[in-house]
């Protein structure tokens, strides 16, 4: 492989890592901080992606749209739409036990996928939406950078922003309450915390972050179809990333995104070269099997992940100002 090919591969690799890292940080807000089990990540991802795509694409006879809004408006729209979805789901499930939240979130993700696949007027169904532009391509071209490189820079900028926000949230009193609720709900309630409200806040913020990830994906990839939002890509990989990296730890979410994406995309390369002819048709399921088994091994051997959760430094009593 020539040098330019390797460079292009690395740009694509790190763009995907960045997008998945944002999704993992969103999930960490819900699961790592407040212990809410969302296995409908793909649903929030899809809402963000399609909202931004519909808002920013030029007019097309195949789907709703034609607003031609700027990139940032698409991003804001994606964040608002997925936050609203999170609000509705969170409001319904806030007082229910974890299993119901899990079932409800996967239900909404599958239902959204059905809508995306069937409502041709909205999303062009399984044929997908194309022509979604990469962010600020002209600007980056003027700097002599490719649009892919520009996407990577934009994704990294958003990743830094999200990381800063969630890390700040984790260290704040708000994050402390979230952990308290997760560890001991009756005790948190007894100290006068409104459990339902705190839970809902974490769920909505997490959903909004996932929507942001979806919008960035849409603008990088340029094409959307229901295939991209199968539970496998949208949900399962994000979960494995968070658990492998260490749930509750934002750095863990980042590390998990890098490692699991490296294994996932590396296994594709490995199997296309090393697999014997007879098995080459099975490369797809074999990769899923590999990641699935890896998850089980992590859960059994090291459930806390590579970077276990650490408690943020607290100000010692009596030393406040």
């Amino acid at each position: 492989m020539e040098l330019a090919g390797i460079a292009a591969y690395l740009v694509s690799f790190f763009t995907f890592v960045g997008i998945y890292a944002i999704l993992a940080l969103g999930l960490n807000m819900q699961w790592g901080f407040s212990g809410q089990f969302n296995i409908g990540v793909a649903g929030f991802f899809a809402v963000g992606a399609y909202t931004s795509a519909i808002l920013t694409t030029p007019e097309s006879p195949w789907h709703l749209g034609g607003y031609g809004m700027p990139f940032l408006v698409g991003i804001v729209g994606a964040v608002v739409a997925s936050a609203l979805l999170g609000l509705v789901i969170g409001w319904i499930t806030a007082r229910l036990r974890t299993d119901y939240l899990a079932i409800a979130t996967i239900g909404i993700a599958e239902t959204l996928r059905l809508i995306v696949a069937n409502e041709r007027w909205l999303t062009n169904g399984v044929r997908g939406m194309s022509g979604i532009e990469r962010p600020y391509a002209d600007f980056f071209a003027a700097l002599g950078l490719s649009s892919a490189m520009g996407s990577l820079i934009v994704v990294c900028a958003f990743l830094v922003l999200v990381y800063f926000l969630v890390e700040r949230a984790r260290q704040s009193p708000w994050g402390r309450v979230q952990r308290a609720i997760r560890e001991n709900e009756p005790a948190a309630e007894a100290s006068g915390k409104n459990i339902g409200r705190f839970r809902l806040e974490a769920f909505v913020v997490g959903s909004a972050i996932m929507g942001l990830g979806g919008a960035l994906y849409a603008h990088y990839f340029g094409f959307l179809s229901p295939e991209a939002f199968l539970p496998l890509y949208g949900t399962f990989l994000v979960w494995v990333m968070l658990i492998a990296g260490g749930s509750g730890n934002n750095k863990g979410a980042l590390l998990g995104a890098v490692i699991i994406w490296a294994i996932w995309s590396g296994s594709e390369f490995l199997m296309s070269t090393a697999l014997p002819e007879a098995l080459s048709g099975h490369a797809g399921p074999l990769r899923v099997l590999l990641i699935g088994v890896l998850l089980q091994v992590i859960l059994i051997k090291r459930p806390e992940g590579l970077l276990p959760e650490t408690t943020p430094k607290t100000v010692p009593f009596g030393k406040r100002d």
């Binding site: 319904i92 409800a104 059905l114 069937n118 048709g281 399921p285 899923v288 099997l289």
Partner: protein, 289 residues
């Protein structure tokens, strides 16, 4: 008049689908009652059962209904192996870790099905079905057999739960775990039997679904949501409620095709489930919340 006929015809389909859902939902409910987690790999256990049954009748050339016991045995053993190899080691931690694990296990089982049997659509050799006409309503013979098979399986389960010592122990553990353990019920054995029965019931659902339509590696996953809806509607942890839940969801899904695209059937199950969660989260029969 036409509407009435359509309605009755769809109700027949609804009862057939409901039978399949009920068998799946009973297993989900029982596993929840004993182990306190929603088993997300249950749909893929159905798929395994359906494919094992298919292989058995293909290899032995046995009549099609032999797929049922063969598939049930295959999926029961699969469930037991999965439990002993994976779930057993994480059972002591929070139940929610089991939930994550089972979500991963669903994908593991599905990729095994894809590797062993291939990704293409397969079907049971049911032959050409000539429907019986009862006053303008078509009744396909396999549908009658599917409903009868479900009744036999459910009756056998009922006798097991009420007449045998281990069945009573299962109900006791599901009702009140601490009290049951204090009385010296062999917890580990009960858990293993729960997996065997849950797996067998899932395979029953899978084989019947395969006979009714076709086999694909995602058949079980696609029906998981309606199965959960049935279990929740019946009161999760209540096997008998799951039967009623399955029938209600099955009927609702089929009748909805009168005014909705058929591809939205799973969404109908989901909407009913959400309504139940809002209005009566313990289900119609008051399950363990």
């Amino acid at each position: 008049m036409d509407l009435l006929i359509d309605l009755i015809q769809l109700s027949v389909y609804g009862v057939v689908l409901g039978s399949v859902l009920a068998l799946g939902a009973i297993g989900v409910s029982m596993i929840f009652g004993i182990l306190r987690f929603a088993h997300f790999a249950h749909g893929d256990l159905m798929t395994i059962g359906a494919y094992v049954g298919l292989s058995f009748i293909m290899i032995t050339d046995a009549p099609i209904w032999w797929a049922l016991p063969a598939g049930m045995l295959g999926a029961a053993l699969t469930a037991l192996v999965v439990d002993q190899a994976v779930y057993k080691h994480i059972r002591r931690t929070q139940p929610v870790i089991l939930l994550i694990s089972s979500f991963g296990m669903a994908l593991v089982l599905r990729s095994i099905v894809q590797i062993v049997w291939g990704p293409s659509v397969q079907s049971y050799p049911t032959g050409i079905q000539r429907p019986w006409w009862v006053w303008e309503i078509a009744i396909v013979p396999t549908h009658i057999w599917i409903i009868l098979a479900t009744i036999v399986i459910v009756t056998a389960l009922h006798l097991f739960l009420t007449r045998t010592r281990i069945g009573k122990a299962m109900r006791a553990m599901s009702d009140n775990m601490d009290l049951a353990l204090v009385t010296g019920i062999p917890a580990e054995r009960v858990v293993m039997i729960t997996w065997l029965i849950g797996g067998a019931l899932a395979a029953g659902a899978g084989v019947l679904l395969g006979i009714d339509s076709r086999l694909t590696p995602t058949m079980g996953w696609n029906i998981l949501l309606p199965v959960f809806a049935a279990a929740i509607l019946g009161g999760i942890g209540r096997p008998y409620g799951a039967i009623a839940g399955g029938l209600v969801i099955g009927l609702a899904m089929e009748i909805s095709t009168l005014f909705l695209e058929p591809s939205y059937k799973p969404a109908v199950a989901f909407v009913i489930m959400v309504a139940v969660l809002i209005v009566r989260p313990q289900g119609i029969f008051k399950g363990a919340l």
